[in-house]
Symmetry: C3
Subunit: 137 residues, 3 copies
């Protein structure tokens, strides 16, 4: 059991290495911040990061899995998340994304987190990025 | 009085229903996060959400009102806000937005929150989105 | 020594005046939020804010310095930062930015913060904006 009062990096073993010197998540005390996650599949040694597929659906499901893995690494779950930031690249994706979002949170115990969604540029081939802030007891 | 140590959803009665399974705000302990608010008028049963008007001024004033309602729902006020995130769609709106912003915060007791402003895409017809992080005693 | 349990504005003496009624940073209790910083040089009385130079490198280095000054003003350091939000304007800047980022954090004691990077619009002439969330003991 790690000392949660100290700042701790959260880097799930299956995650790809970040493209710069940052952590996939950080916990310090009761605050857990998940870095922007995209739809990269689990890391394959010797190969560059690759998204789960070209579609919004494939990437969104993988992105949720990646955020969830960071939460678990920090001893948290989706129930602890207070804010989800969603970055999409195309306003035409909003309806489909919301269907996937609702399905993901369908079984959540307790109130769903707050959310902000904006449309930005992302690296070529990526359609969605999500980060999250959790507050633990 | 709700138990503020538990995660609580903040959804003012007059707010339109979110387009997906998220809360307009969440409070857990001393952290209150307001979801991205836009210039939607109070909900009218049976009608889709509609912005206060087509102009930056109308939408900004309504957006401030909507953020404020979520803060109040969580027992907070603008004085508790430490960070405001502003999403505009056009750099030409910066000067007018800042005038409205200054007027909004003119009577604030104590130091104004921090702020980040960036230019992004928003759903058609929307010119401004704002979210906020508050820290309560 | 200020009373860190109260909301305190963090505005380093050398920083340019914000373009609206917001603080360059705010600390309340253990939470310190740095507002979006850009590559503006130290303020020169009677002159408008000016970036350190036209290049990504010049602006990024100055932006790091500006974020760092706000952290110090609040009694914090980069070691306390849990989240860095990076706003770039061009995906072609990613590799060069990451080199500068890695150099900045090379000597950091302890785990690096989480990070989200997205591509947005910024005011003319600005190539990078960074804000940061720190959690203090």
């Amino acid at each position: 059991m790690s000392d949660t009062s100290r700042k701790t990096a959260l880097n799930p073993a299956t995650h790809t290495t970040p493209p710069a010197k940052f952590s996939h998540g950080v916990r310090k005390g009761g605050i857990l911040q998940v870095a922007g996650q995209v739809g990269f599949l689990p890391a394959v040694p010797g190969q560059p990061p690759a998204p789960a597929g070209p579609t919004l659906r494939e990437q969104t499901l993988q992105t949720f899995a990646n955020v969830g893995a960071v939460l678990r690494e920090g001893g948290a779950s989706w129930e602890d998340v207070v804010m989800v930031r969603v970055y999409l690249t195309d306003t035409d994706h909003f309806a489909e994304f919301n269907e996937l979002y609702d399905a993901h949170f369908a079984d959540l115990a307790g109130p769903p987190p707050a959310r902000t969604t904006v449309y930005v540029g992302l690296p070529a081939g990526l359609l969605v990025e999500i980060d999250a802030l959790a507050v633990l007891d």
